[in-house]
Point group: C2
Chain length 220, copies 2
Amino acid sequence: MTGMKNQSKSGPVWDQNFHDDFARLLQWRRDVRRFDTRPIDEDILIDCLRLAVIGPSVGNAQPWRLVRVRNEARRQKIYDNFKRANADELACYEGEQRMTYGALKLAGLDDAPVQISVFVDNTTTVGHGLGARTMPEALAYSVVGMMNSLWLLLRSHGIGLGWVSILTPDDLGRDLDVPDNWTFVGHLCIGYPMQTSVTPELVACGWQDRLDLEDFLLER
Amino acid sequence: MTGMKNQSKSGPVWDQNFHDDFARLLQWRRDVRRFDTRPIDEDILIDCLRLAVIGPSVGNAQPWRLVRVRNEARRQKIYDNFKRANADELACYEGEQRMTYGALKLAGLDDAPVQISVFVDNTTTVGHGLGARTMPEALAYSVVGMMNSLWLLLRSHGIGLGWVSILTPDDLGRDLDVPDNWTFVGHLCIGYPMQTSVTPELVACGWQDRLDLEDFLLER
């Protein structure tokens, strides 16, 4: 417990060393699209998954559904799905932007040793619907919170994650043969990253700069 | 850098002390509905917000829009919005479940010193649409990732966060007078928590137990 101070009635607080290390973790936690193909430690992967799913979810519905994709034929179908969607997306751009887009590597589907497709079960009775009546999308949002924790946990072990959204969800659900009531959220490529910088690739290549907090924050 | 090991071509890794402290942070990061009303440190809040918004977003679109709600009349409108939605939700339950629901405190809108409403701008041109064509919801998911990082950051400073989704989004957007193209994601209550346990309230009160990783994980 080196990184923690004493507990109060509000629970523990973490010390400055932890804050510094956590800040560096957030800086290094980038979307990874280039992976070393060497396998990752299975125990670390499972430990990270177990910790990620203790996170809060609306009504404690725990609506996350994970499909670990090992079968090569299924992996190829997902990669083909991405290539179709990516070609459609490329066709939306023109001129210099099209050249920049064409040069981007936008998924690690060809080299990531672990792939997990994440779905939400919007029909689950776990949690008895609490908190999801006015906002059914809160179920998917709970799943995304879990995915973000997993992303940070893996990164703290030096393992990268890339979230692929350039996919046609219906095709992916069919290719993975998941229950009809599962809705696709994102496909995760996981492995040791080829990454030597904290600068996001889309910043480095000139696609889109970062904005400041003040650009996002209103007062009312 | 006590919690970090040497950097490799994959970037740094964090040491066992950090892993242990981060695991405890994830355990203590619960949805908080009971707050101490004493104010929180403004510098810590802004530092946490600045760090949260460096996280990845689809196309680097940074579609998060934050409204800090200080005005008492607006706060009251949000609280009234919650009370209406909560009464509707209570009416959906019967018998013992209804009694349990009625006894739950599901929002800290009456006591949290800081309140931030979070929206997504699905119409933003930042990021030039990259990655959001097949899945426009990836923009909202990027916002949720940022919110999850903020939740963990605040908690590491001993500050609690409660995510309120029992709200009617259209009414909330109108009451806060936000641009029409912003879509509500969640309302965050922030302050020092009255929290002495890592057990989720919905588990402690018997509403919904936790499930195991194996209940969520398929292989394909």
